[in-house]
């Protein structure tokens, strides 16, 4: 089975991200960057599937040169091949452009199953997985909290507000996995040493026939950003005999219970 996992290198989410005041883009230079923690679950899910079914995992990433670190980490975890699409013209790409680039790279590579996180931990658009599926013309199975695959059919538990739905799709397909779908392994030191000799394709948009798709020609532009408003003070429930009910009603209105 050929599994492709999308990964992204992002500013360490444990640090406070800074926006460039001119471009309104997240500053990625001079900050600690890590593989998006959400993507570690995708890599682990892919590795588990090929360990059970045979086949191999290819990781694909679009981003600055430093994105190579995320690809290398996935290779050290056990992926067989890496692809990095990097080009200055892609800086500031929107979700659709990102999906187009990734989809072309995935198509070129060939796949039975594409695994992604549900969304990136820096951009949070949450639409790239579905867009990739649409561009590849395969089913998108999203928010999977468990993934099973017998090599021809994908079966997942899809996270819902109430619990989960069981969803099946035939391959090829795209699946997005939630955090907690598994416990990502650490790259082993032998894996780290071995990653250097694994194949790594470095592509530009023109290699994918996507010239002129970059950030400058993106279908959206960020015109302004504003800090999130301060949170309003919470409501204090004073018990006049009905406090429990009011708290419960409040939680129910927020769909917490």
């Amino acid at each position: 089975m050929k599994v492709v996992v999308c990964v992204k290198q992002i500013p360490d989410p444990n640090t406070t991200g800074q926006l460039d005041p001119q471009t309104h883009l997240l500053k990625r230079d001079g900050v600690e960057v890590v593989m998006d923690p959400g993507d570690e679950f995708g890599v682990e899910a892919g590795l588990k599937l090929v360990e059970a079914q045979g086949g191999e995992v290819t990781v694909v990433s679009m981003g600055p040169e430093r994105g190579l670190d995320a690809v290398r980490k996935a290779l050290a975890m056990g992926a067989a091949k890496g692809i990095l699409i990097s080009d200055d013209a892609l800086r500031g790409s929107d979700a659709l452009t990102t999906a187009r680039v990734l989809a072309e790279a995935i198509k070129r590579e060939g796949f039975d199953l594409v695994i992604t996180a549900t969304e990136s931990t820096d951009g949070y658009t949450g639409v790239v997985p579905q867009a990739i599926a649409e561009l590849l013309d395969v089913p998108a199975v999203t928010f999977a909290k468990s993934v099973e695959c017998d090599g021809s059919t994908l079966k997942v538990q899809r996270q819902t507000e109430a619990g989960h739905d069981v969803v099946e799709a035939s391959l090829p397909a795209v699946v997005s996995v939630t955090a907690g779908v598994n416990e990502p392994r650490y790259p082993s030191l032998k894996g780290i040493m071995g990653a250097k000799s694994k194949p790594l394709d470095r592509l530009s948009p023109s290699d994918l026939g996507l010239d002129g798709q970059g950030g400058a020609s993106a279908g959206q532009s960020i015109t302004a950003v504003q800090p999130a408003p301060e949170r309003a003070a919470g409501e204090i429930v004073k018990d006049e005999g009905d406090a429990a009910k009011r708290v419960a009603d409040f939680l129910a209105s927020k769909k917490v219970i």
Partner: protein
């Protein structure tokens, strides 16, 4: 100026000179991996292990799976990383606790290294893959109750008896002693000091833990007794005789200590910095007081100095090799830096600094052992003094 300078990255208190930029991609990934492991798996329980005086044995299978055991050795199931990567791993492990760093130091540098360097092909094949996989735990027997800094006076001896050797003696302060499956025992023979691989369960071989320790409490420290232990000639390390054998192992391990102590120091510094920014006195954070800032600046500068030494030593070891004297300078200096940082950090935390809620007093107590083991501060001083003056203060 013809070339635009790259924008300066934000100031990093723990790496102001961007030393980590000198690491290779592999070495950075080793750093990140071990750091994540320590954060996720070691730190949540290490305080409790320290308090109870128990070794975190449950983590050792994962440590082996990561490939940390004998990581810098080539072949025989070992990862074969650079010496610098080994140093980085020691730094991150000791940011957790000196006990877990000691475990990998002893397994990799003191038990596996002599077999890898001085062992026969049979010994290497038999032991190293299993030791790299954590299935066989090793320890290193050199120090004795009455022979520490002067190992040449060791009483443990081995005599030939037909095709075998008979070992008698006592070894003391042996890390991993009672949990070890094999011990590399150094013993006097008619032809000088030789190393022997002694297996757990051999008749006459026993281990008893040292209890009531107030330092390295999450590490196993034992006394080994050898009473007429019969080992086959094939258990003797064939390729070395004399003190050069054990001392070369110690040079390996001390290299890791020079790095490891910087992990403990960093953990203490970070705890002090974070605490000083949260804790308020006289209406403002104590970090705003000049005396506290001076402490933080002194700690950060000392940490930088120690890390510079460790990184340079790593570059030297990977490029041309290091001498025992070069390693002595780093071991002596960096343990002292770490212990001073730990003590200063303790004062920043005030009374909280003595509790296991924070890592500081645990590191501070551990470093008392690190100051003494693998060559006391005094012995390293005299090793360096001899290198500087040509005068041997030992004799």
């Amino acid at each position: 100026m013809t070339e635009a300078r790259r924008a300066a990255p934000p100031f990093s208190a723990t790496d102001p000179y961007l030393l980590d930029d000198q690491l290779s991609d592999d070495e950075r990934l080793v750093r990140d991996t071990v750091r994540a492991f320590v954060r996720d798996r070691v730190l949540p329980t290490i305080g409790e292990h320290f308090e109870k005086g128990t070794f975190p044995r449950e983590l050792m299978a994962e440590v082996a799976e990561l490939g940390l055991l004998g990581m810098h050795l080539k072949g025989h199931g070992c990862a074969g990383t650079s010496a610098t990567a080994y140093g980085v791993a020691c730094e991150e492990m000791e940011a957790g606790d000196s006990a877990v760093r000691s475990f990998i130091s002893v397994q990799g540098s003191l038990a596996m290294f002599p077999i890898w360097k001085f062992g026969s092909d049979e010994q290497k094949e038999r032991w190293l893959p299993q030791m790299a996989a954590g299935k066989v735990i090793g320890c290193f027997g050199l120090t004795e109750p009455d022979a520490g800094s002067d190992p040449a006076t060791m009483r443990t001896h081995a005599r030939r008896d037909g095709d075998d050797w008979i070992l008698d003696g006592t070894k003391m302060w042996i890390t991993n002693g009672s949990i070890a499956d094999i011990a590399v025992i150094w013993a006097n023979t008619d032809s000088g000091i030789r190393g022997f691989i002694v297996e757990r369960g051999m008749r006459g071989f026993g281990a008893r833990d040292v209890t009531r320790k107030l330092s390295l409490r999450a590490s196993v420290t034992s006394e080994l007794t050898l009473e007429g232990v019969r080992v086959p000639n094939g258990s003797m390390l064939p390729e070395v005789s004399g003190l050069r054998g054990p001392l070369s192992c110690l040079t390996e391990a001390r290299f890791g200590i020079a790095w490891g102590t910087m992990g403990a120091a960093r953990a203490c510094f970070e705890a002090a910095r974070d605490y000083s920014m949260q804790r308020r006195a006289f209406g403002k954070p104590i970090a705003s007081f000049q005396l506290t800032q001076e402490k933080l600046v002194d700690m950060a500068t000392a940490l930088l100095h120690g890390r510079l030494v460790a990184h340079r030593l790593g570059v030297l070891k990977d490029s041309r090799g290091v001498t025992p004297e070069q390693v002595s300078i780093a071991k002596r200096s960096n343990v002292r830096i770490a212990i001073d940082i730990a003590r200063t950090a303790r004062t920043v935390l005030g009374a909280n600094g003595i509790t296991l809620e924070y890592p500081v007093v645990r590191h501070m107590n551990n470093l008392e052992s690190v100051l003494t083991y693998e060559g006391t501060e005094e012995v390293h001083t005299l090793v360096i003094g001899k290198a500087i003056t040509g005068e041997d203060a030992f004799s």
